[in-house]
Symmetry: C2
Subunit: 334 residues, 2 copies
């Protein structure tokens, strides 16, 4: 690929914005309610070429202000779970994940929505993160760079989970492109104005970018820092009860994305002892002390930072699209 080359990508006519995938992550819940209210008021407005689908993903969990009712919805979107056998007694979220897959997918198919932006909050001091399964999805990476430029006051990172499309488990994996927009710190069950506003502005800028892209804007290439998840670290636990025996060390707490070096303090036990990081490579911690991950055995995650070059992109013209179709006919037309 030449640095000057402009990559042409298909239009993004259908975008889904989802909130309440975790029912107690309230910025997304209240933002979606607000956007749905505004949408109602704007019905008289002339039809715009971009279709934005607003989704409240887990209404039952929202009603109870819990992460989930039976099982974590945002782990239900693997190919295996979506396509396996199902009984009448299936957990609520298994049933709901199929409804969402029917609405926004089917995952991996040519009729899936073009982009899924799934809204999340974390108790970790992570600022605004886009979390995606690809480090070469130019759409996601360009959106990230646009948000960074439009919101210079908000600390912003791009996190990459290296999982295949088949094994990717979260709602955003149902779209042709997709990411979670994760913002913190905010306690679950609480909405903080500053976090809510950052999410609102983030979603507006994301939709603006898609409109610019669809209408032919050329976005120049450049570099993006990508944090690739390497491993999770669990809390020290009691051998018998499995209760945790230490908390995140006060010197590490709230220092997401500050490099962690070998022998840096990691945990402070409940009796006051310091436990240190025993890895031999400095890495970047994130999701430090995320509430929902106690049960998943994750005290923090560690990432390696890489600089990724992204090409200039623009939308395909109608001609290019037709030429492309002849060259690579898509499934639906075979």
């Amino acid at each position: 690929m030449e640095v000057d080359e402009v990559v042409c990508l298909p239009r993004l006519p259908r975008v889904a914005v989802c909130g309440g995938t975790h029912g107690n992550e309230l910025s997304g819940v209240y933002l979606m309610r607000e956007l749905l209210k505004m949408e109602k008021k704007e019905t008289e407005k002339e039809e715009e070429p971009l279709s934005v689908l607003m989704v409240l993903s887990n209404p039952r969990a929202m009603l109870q202000c819990r992460r989930y009712v039976d099982t974590d919805l945002n782990r239900c979107f693997t190919h295996a779970t979506l396509n396996g056998p199902i009984s009448d007694a299936a957990p609520y979220e298994i049933i709901r994940s199929r409804e969402l897959n029917a609405m926004l997918g089917p995952k991996g198919s040519p009729v899936a929505v073009d982009l899924v932006c799934d809204l999340h909050n974390t108790t970790a001091n992570m600022g605004l993160c886009l979390i995606a399964y690809s480090d070469c999805d130019w759409i996601c990476l360009h959106i990230f760079r646009h948000l960074q430029r439009q919101m210079p006051d908000i600390p912003m990172r791009y996190i990459h989970f290296d999982v295949s499309n088949k094994e990717s488990y979260s709602l955003d994996s149902v779209g042709k492109h997709g990411f979670a927009m994760e913002i913190g710190p905010q306690p679950h069950g609480v909405v903080r104005s500053n976090i809510y506003t950052a999410m609102k502005v983030g979603v507006q800028n994301m939709l603006d970018w898609v409109r610019f892209f669809n209408s032919g804007t050329i976005f120049e290439g450049g570099f993006v820092d990508v944090f690739s998840m390497i491993k999770h670290i669990d809390y020290p636990r009691d051998g018998e009860t499995r209760n945790i025996t230490a908390a995140i060390h006060p010197q590490l707490q709230d220092r997401d994305f500050c490099q962690l070096h070998p022998e840096d303090p990691l945990f402070q036990t409940f009796s006051g002892e310091t436990l240190r990081y025993k890895g031999n490579e400095p890495l970047y911690p994130f999701f430090i002390n995320e509430c929902a991950y106690y049960e998943k055995g994750i005290a923090l995650s560690l990432a390696r930072k890489r600089r990724v070059m992204i090409p200039a992109i623009r939308v395909q013209t109608e001609q290019e699209k037709q030429a492309n179709k002849q060259e690579y006919p898509s499934e639906e037309e075979e």
Copy 2:
């Protein structure tokens, strides 16, 4: 009362420290587990004259990492609820409140423990607060002053809820003296080292004070700032759905105990509008954006600050106790 007069008060031979009254307020849960572990190890130690009862108040809620299972345990300790009729199908916390009342009370009786310290966390930026139903309980106020002096780095306040003993509803009301030790900010379901350590040191200092008191130390009189709760303010809500339509204003968030003046910003609606404080008296806000109070209709509480003079105190001698008994025979001996 003369300023120089030393008030003599009965010994405090039995103290209860309770954690997990709300199962997702984790500093208290892990501190109690730690103290119970230490207690086990120390059984060989010589018997000390102070009996400290360690209580995990709501084990079922703790297991589920929720505030409560059926109903808020810390609202179940009114005389009416403790003594009303009860069926087999009673909510778990109603049953549990009677067990705790049997263990630590009965509330209002001469056999109740001398002091209950009930450990709580809040998502509000409240530092360490003692919350009590009296502004003239010299024991509670002296403990508060001792903690203030021993922990000068921790912002500390004494909050007074003006409710009669009969109508007081929380676990700490079961003891002859009692208070909640409330520390924040900490998200529910999360333990933060700094908050855990503040609670641990607070409990140690509280127990130290009781030992000093019991062994005859005279504590000098002085002044204490008391924040008396005046009223609660609810979130603006949608008339139909009762969903909240605004969050705490970013200029108010985290500013617990900073005076709120008429026309100061109070809320920011989800569409971006600022709503202002319409009271006509400057007051002190606290419990700003406490997670558990969304369902109780409390966005923040407001207090008036007063300076209360507390007398010097010391423990009654055995002679004084005997003399006192003849003058005011207690119920059990009638």
